[in-house]
């Protein structure tokens, strides 16, 4: 068993550095951008044709929150090639596995984070809006300078949880042919018929990454909360 661990660990770490980490990080950044846009659309007070955009935002959040991620991955990677749009995509929408993975993970995490950010924005007391409006700020300036900086603090813990969840969820990328850390452990197990050892090993690696992220989270929470006094 010791032999298995020693020979497998480097392969697992390589796969982690090559796929698990980059896919998580890129997807999370894109997801955050998407989440922010979605949240801003959903809390917008604009009238008129804007309701279509709001409807789309709602639908998007609903869709990605109420279906399993595995299915989403599958449909994006294996399903979209069937979607042949004359002119635009005559051969269907084809993506490399990594592109499809990043797209799906971004969309998925974006839907969840959109709700987090929306909640955080709504949690900022109305008085902050009113004070900023009274100074004569436009809605955009209020959001950018007053509301969002405070919302960051509120949403940091749930966003960090989403990120940690995302890191673990990248193990599903194997289903769209990405040979990430988890898949490597399975491939090794297929040769040595020792799946249990491999599972424990890969679990330990995930735990290391997630714990490191938790520490980072704790640090960021401290930084963003520097303006909140603890006593009283």
């Amino acid at each position: 068993m010791w032999h298995i661990i020693v020979t497998s660990t480097p392969q697992l770490i390589e796969a982690g550095l090559k796929y698990t980490i980059p896919i998580s990080v890129i997807s999370f950044i894109l997801g955050l951008v998407l989440a922010l846009v979605t949240a801003l659309i959903r809390i917008s007070t604009k009238k008129g044709a804007f309701w279509i955009l709001k409807g789309i935002a709602r639908f998007y959040v609903w869709l990605f929150r109420s279906t399993p991620l595995l299915v989403q991955l599958f449909i994006v990677y294996f399903g979209l090639p069937y979607l042949k749009i004359a002119g635009l995509f005559p051969n269907g929408i084809q993506m490399s596995p990594v592109t499809a993975g990043i797209l799906t993970f971004s969309l998925n995490t974006g839907a969840y984070c959109a709700e987090t950010i929306r909640g955080a924005i709504l949690s900022i007391p109305n008085g902050q809006w009113e004070a900023a409006y009274s100074i004569g700020m436009t809605r955009t300036t209020v959001l950018r300078r007053i509301i969002l900086p405070q919302a960051v603090r509120v949403s940091l813990p749930p966003l960090a949880n989403s990120f940690i969840g995302l890191v673990k969820d990248t193990s599903l990328a194997a289903s769209i042919t990405i040979v990430e850390m988890f898949e490597v452990s399975q491939q090794i197990a297929a040769q040595n018929y020792q799946p249990l050892v491999m599972y424990c090993l890969v679990a330990a690696l995930y735990a290391v990454v997630c714990t490191a992220l938790s520490w980072l989270q704790g640090y960021l929470e401290k930084v963003t909360s520097r303006y909140v006094t603890t006593s009283n």
Partner: protein, 246 residues
């Protein structure tokens, strides 16, 4: 039969996962070996399992599970035997017992019909090949230096090749012929690996190390089934030909 590995005394029925039953692990998603037809489990290995159980005076009890659970489940006593197109290798013999082979499964390499670069197994090196992770197909791809890309569903493997997103796939010849019975292989071609490239896999039942008694009994049963023609009949029924001998 060689019962030498068995150090245990007692009856082959003593250590069963469920008494009176031969509990059999398989995937259930792999035609023609084991799959679901109108909600009922069927396939070559399903019928074979029933026949073996009958010979052993037991009731067959099938447990379908994903590949990664199969081997682990055997180790932890969730089932007595695995019938899932498993082939013998020296590595695996260190940890598990195998029955005598019940079929000899040839590997087939599927590529696009317009592909001129991949002709023999040697050409797999450095190419992106798809197969289900746990299967021996994946192991063969890796043996020839291919990049194994995991895909569980056979239809999806073929789509990937047609769309040019994978260079090829490795699978059992029988899986392809079964598919070709009522589906088109248009745009694809396949090459059955020769005995020199990769010998036919010796597909056998898999047992835990300590179940030597059961293994011996199953070997007897397989011999029986071979002699009375059942095995051949099943092979023809599911594979269209007799692959029960080398």
């Amino acid at each position: 039969a060689c019962g030498s590995q068995s150090s245990q005394s007692g009856n082959y029925k003593d250590n069963l996962a469920q008494s009176g039953k031969l509990t059999i692990g398989l995937e259930g998603t792999y035609p023609p070996y084991s799959y679901r037809q109108n909600g009922k489990l069927t396939g070559f290995e399903v019928e074979l399992g029933k026949a073996i159980a009958q010979q052993l005076d037991l009731k067959a009890n099938f447990v379908p599970t994903k590949w990664d659970g199969l081997v682990a489940g055997l180790g932890s006593g969730k089932y007595d035997i695995i019938l899932n197109n498993m082939s013998q290798t020296p590595d695996r013999k260190k940890a598990y017992l195998f029955s005598t082979p019940y079929i000899y499964s040839k590997y087939a390499m599927i590529t696009r019909s317009d592909n001129k670069d991949i002709k023999t197994a040697k050409d797999i090196k450095g190419r992106n090949f798809v197969a289900s992770t746990g299967s021996d197909n994946g192991v063969v791809i890796k043996k020839f230096g291919g990049n194994l890309r995991p895909i569980e569903q056979f239809q999806t493997e073929l789509d990937q090749i047609r769309e040019g997103r994978a260079d090829g796939a490795m699978n059992a010849e029988s899986a392809i012929t079964t598919y070709a019975k009522d589906h088109s292989l248009k745009g694809l071609k396949y090459h059955v690996l020769t005995e020199n490239e990769q010998p036919a896999a010796k597909i056998s039942a898999l047992f835990n190390k300590q179940d030597g008694k059961l293994r011996d009994k199953v070997n007897d049963a397989l011999k029986q089934l071979k002699e009375n023609g059942t095995l051949k009949k099943l092979s023809v029924k599911y594979f269209g030909t007799d692959i029960t001998t080398k």
